[in-house]
């Protein structure tokens, strides 16, 4: 082989290695840039007051977003209560019971639902829950988020159930377990770590959604008066504060972003921890 070809080959190899490496580095740095930017801009506003106090009226500095933090948690709680059981059961159906045609339809529909823009899901929840009672509510926000949680949970549950070897189902059935009993006593426990991880990631994913909350949960400058009343949430607060003309609000929006990202990071780490622990068993 000629010398020139060898040099050419080595050059191509080197260039491609560099390109892929730069892309990989770019991906990592985006997260760290965002994190650094959030800390730089919002770190100063992040103090105890931010977590314990209500927003101050316009013109006064200080105050916090305690209502939005609690609000986001309440909305996530509703989304979990309504969306996770649905997603779990449908995932079990797809992995364990479903026939060919209907499963295909369900799977395809789920993927489409996952791709529906979140603002559209907001409009849907708006017309479903807000319009009949004619006011915004926590419940409506929960419904919107639950709809987003379902497709992610369905697919992750299905994937993790499918990863359980068929020989385990056989073993249980050979001992006289019915199909449902096999699923409950063997298959689901075997996949529980993965399923839980998928659920946590689904919740983390919707925790940052703004669009479906804008005209469902709306927002609230004060503590929410109940599930039927509007409620503040971190993403909507960020939106409101970021477009306002006050520097102090901008700093608080950055701080809220930092808290939100922290929440997502913590649930990701928690998910990884659960997965690693169950794999060890």
């Amino acid at each position: 082989m000629s010398n020139a070809r060898i040099i050419w080959r080595k050059t191509v190899n080197y260039v491609m290695l560099t390109l892929t490496g730069v892309a990989a580095f770019g991906v990592v740095s985006v997260l760290f840039l965002i994190l650094g930017y959030l800390i730089w801009n919002g770190g100063t506003s992040l103090n105890l007051n931010f977590f314990t106090q209500l927003p101050k009226p316009v013109g006064e500095t200080g105050g916090g977003m305690a209502n939005a933090i609690v609000g986001s948690l309440k909305l996530l709680f509703l989304a979990a209560m309504m969306g996770l059981p649905f997603g779990l059961l449908a995932g079990v159906y797809l992995a364990e019971f479903g026939g060919k045609t209907f499963s295909f339809v369900v799977r395809y529909t789920t993927d489409l639902l996952n791709g529906v823009p979140s603002i559209v899901i907001g409009i849907f929840a708006y017309s479903l829950v807000v319009l009949p009672v004619k006011h915004f509510s926590t419940l409506a926000g929960g419904v919107a988020l639950a709809i987003m949680v379902i497709p992610i949970t369905v697919r992750s549950t299905e994937e993790f159930l499918r990863a359980v070897p068929g020989s385990m189902r056989e073993a249980a059935m050979a001992l006289g377990a019915s199909q449902w009993k096999t699923i409950v006593t063997v298959v689901l426990p075997a996949a529980s770590g993965g399923i839980l991880t998928g659920m946590l990631l689904a919740l983390a994913r919707v925790a940052g959604e703004t669009a479906p909350l804008l005209f469902t949960a709306f927002s609230n400058r004060y503590w929410s008066q109940g599930w039927g009343q509007p409620i503040a949430s971190l993403p909507v607060m960020i939106y409101t504060y970021a477009i306002a003309p006050y520097d102090d609000w901008h700093r608080q929006a950055w701080a809220a972003g930092l808290v939100l990202l922290g929440l997502v990071l913590v649930s990701n780490l928690g998910a990884r921890f659960i997965l690693a622990r169950t794999k060890a068993i």
Binding site: P165, R169, E170, A171, A172, M173, L175, A177, T185, I281
Partner: protein, 257 residues
């Protein structure tokens, strides 16, 4: 019943299979098979890969029903009663099964053995039965201090004996073994064979094996299958020394299969 040589008398039979046909969709896998499985003896099923011996074994506890599009014809009598009319849960409690690859649950050793008892709603003292089953599977001495540990921590041979203990816990009359040693080394295989020999007093066994030495060593009766049909069935010593059918002779002398 002229086709099958019945090596035993009627009253000492545990399973009597007559004219069994089995289909995967349109494809027939077992053809008009009749076989007697005597009580508290080991019956080995030998034959080349794909001859239907595993499929046949799995019809005996109706495990094939878990596969879609399958169909079975003919009778399988367990103590004189057709298994197809029985409640499948009760049947599988009476006819246990051990699979080719050890398949313990991702639970503790203790919970693996207790599983069959729990799902059958057993209310007595689980501890005693778990110990008894592990002793019967010759595993107790090795695991008695680690009962809470994951079953996955055990070696392959220990896992297989755990699977046997798990099957024994519900005290089945029949134990079906589907190539239980094919994933194990010779030393472990010898242990399992020794174990089968000890279990013979209390349990009827049917074992599918690829290993003719194993069939010759461990079984009392041997059935040779080819292309879904039973070719020859007799006492193991007879089948291996004086086979009647030329195809049996060809197989056991290694000329095909």
């Amino acid at each position: 019943m002229e086709k099958t040589t019945s090596p035993t008398t009627e009253q000492s039979l545990r399973l009597k299979i007559s004219n069994l046909n089995f289909f995967y969709g349109p494809k027939q896998a077992v053809f008009g098979l009749s076989l007697d499985i005597p009580i508290n003896r080991i019956t080995a099923l030998i034959g080349p890969s794909g001859c239907g011996k595993s499929t046949f074994l799995r019809t005996l506890n109706r495990m094939n029903e878990t596969i879609r599009n399958t169909r079975v014809e003919g009778a399988v009598l367990l103590d004189g009663q057709d298994i197809h009319g029985m409640d499948v849960v009760g049947l599988r409690r009476r006819v246990g099964m051990v699979f080719q690859r050890p398949n313990p649950f991702p639970k503790s050793i203790y919970e693996n053995v207790a599983y069959g008892l729990r799902i059958n709603g057993y209310k007595g003292r689980l501890d005693d039965l778990v110990e008894k089953s592990l002793r019967r599977a010759a595993l107790w001495e090795e695991v008695k201090d680690y009962l809470k540990k994951s079953a996955f921590a055990l070696s392959g041979g220990q896992q297989q004996r755990l699977c046997i203990a798990r099957a024994l816990a519900v005290d089945p009359e029949v134990l079906l073994l589907d190539e239980p040693c094919s994933a194990l080394d010779p030393v472990t295989t010898a242990k399992i064979e020794e174990l089968m020999f000890q279990l013979k007093d209390s349990c009827t066994m049917a074992i599918v094996t690829h290993n003719m030495q194993q069939a010759a060593r461990a079984s009392d009766y041997t059935a040779f299958m080819l292309d879904g049909k039973l070719i020859e069935h007799s006492e193991t010593s007879k089948l291996f020394t004086t086979p009647k059918d030329p195809r049996t002779e060809a197989y056991i002398t290694g000329r095909f299969g």
